[in-house]
């Protein structure tokens, strides 16, 4: 699958920006979090043509204008179920046997 690296005006895209640099972040953060900038991703319709990595303004679903760096054109979702956990595959079989045995014994 080839990634689209450019958007046209009106395309559905995702932009990224930095809301707070590490120095501007809240006090009392754990060290690992404090060392990182607070980053933001928002999706919307591209105002202009742009390439991935370019600064771009989008109009979001609520009509707000948000400016950031174009990271993806037509962003999707690829989360899944994955493989069954081996620790769980026999649970159904074993518990059905136990319930049946309990009932057979007059429980």
């Amino acid at each position: 699958m080839t990634e689209t690296t450019r958007c046209a005006p009106g395309d559905w895209v995702e932009v990224e920006s930095i809301l707070l640099e590490p120095a501007d972040r809240s006090a009392n953060l754990p060290d690992d979090t404090a060392a990182q900038p607070l980053r933001m991703w928002v999706k919307g319709f591209a105002r202009t043509a742009a390439g991935v990595g370019d600064e771009l303004t989008v109009e979001t679903m609520t009509g707000r204008e948000v400016t950031g760096v174009l990271v993806e054109v037509n962003p999707g979702y690829f989360h899944t179920f994955g493989k069954p956990a081996p620790e769980l595959t026999a649970v159904g079989r074993d518990l059905r046997i136990r319930v049946a045995a309990y009932r057979k014994a007059g429980g």
Binding site: H79, G82, A85, V91
Partner: protein
Amino acid sequence: MAGRTEAIMARKGEIMKRALGMDYAQFERSPIAFDYEAMMSAHGYSLEQIIAIQRSGGVGKTPLLELRNLTDLVRSYAEPGFGARLFVKDEAANMAGSFKDRRASVSIHVAKEKGYAGVIAATSGNYGAAVSSQAARAGLNCIIVQEAFDSRHVGQPEIIEKSRICEAFGAEVVQLTVGPELFSHMLELLDETGYLAASLYSAFGISGIESLGWELAEEMTALTGAPPTHVVVTHAGGGNTTGTARGLRRAGATTQVVSASVDLSGLHMASDADFNRKSFTTGHTGFGVPFATWPDRADVPRNAARALRYMDRYLTVTQGDVFYVTEAMAKLEGLERGPSGNTAMAAAISLARDLPRDATVVVQETEYTGAGKHHWAQLNFARENGVEVRAGDPTESVPGKSIVIPERPEQIRAKDFDLSKLRRSYVRNALAHAGEGYAPTSEDIEFLAVDTNSDAASIEAIVASLKEA
């Protein structure tokens, strides 16, 4: 950019007053006490009106199911004469797949009535789906602000699914990396848009959950002749416990309210590294304990969700227990539901074993499942993030390091969290927030007693021992 957070936080009071649709100052009585019941009834809707609002939004009246196979499974290893009847309220049957629809429905109704153009909520959970769905029906704009990624831009699959479903319902989703500054950005968005803050913790939201407690009491009475002896509630921010308990009381039930959370002790909720080492994004002690001991940490001046006021017991279970029970529910009862909602189910299976057969235990929610939220997805993600997953004794699990899945249902043993510790911690927090040197009045002591479901003498004793410490 320096000072951006300070600048917006300085205007917090003014922004929230407009965004909440209610002036909280009228309920304050002292640096400690406030008039909780006046706050809860200020919206002016009766329970009947709330139920009517919810019905028109496609919310509520979910199936109450008896779990005969799970009940017999528990009885197969309980002592003779023990093993309570198990029931579940299938809240996944709501419009957006969870009880959170009840919570969202009243806020959205108020936003529409008061003429707001849209709503904003900060949530990485099912509440975002609920607000997005109800807003779509009401023709309102909706922004959901999510803590979604760690600094590598890796997201919990459950949260990624929540981003997807919110966008499916037409919401604008603002995804952030880990950090509490999410709140200051929500303030900026409220300021920019003029939308209603559809807080999880508003009186609108919590009143919306009362219908759940009321409904299940009525349905159990129709089915068994009486309200349930026990209701088990997955607990995080406290709204589920609070609203359900209030609804049960409205129905005249004297049901024991048992809150339940997944034990995630040792993991820091604001840590970038820990963020993706937990397999539960809610219903865990990382929210459950801090919100029980200081509910007013929420994004409203006074939190309508006050779990300690209502819980009779607080049980914790392990992540492995909940995954096991999630699998068992699907295979034995034909109910494939999300793991977070099954937290209470894992606790209920342990509880039912120790109760007589004529006791009735209702688990008052389920949530939808699917790609990302599914327990297989969660376990695969845990493995990818270096968490050990194995079968064995679940008491050996270490949150963030290992998930131990029980080999037999007998191994599911919920632990009682000591409520007196929670109460003491709550009183300490209340005194600290009142300011140094503030001496609580008798009205304050009475408020703290009610707010912790204890009595004035116990509160006096805690105050005295904190002074000595």
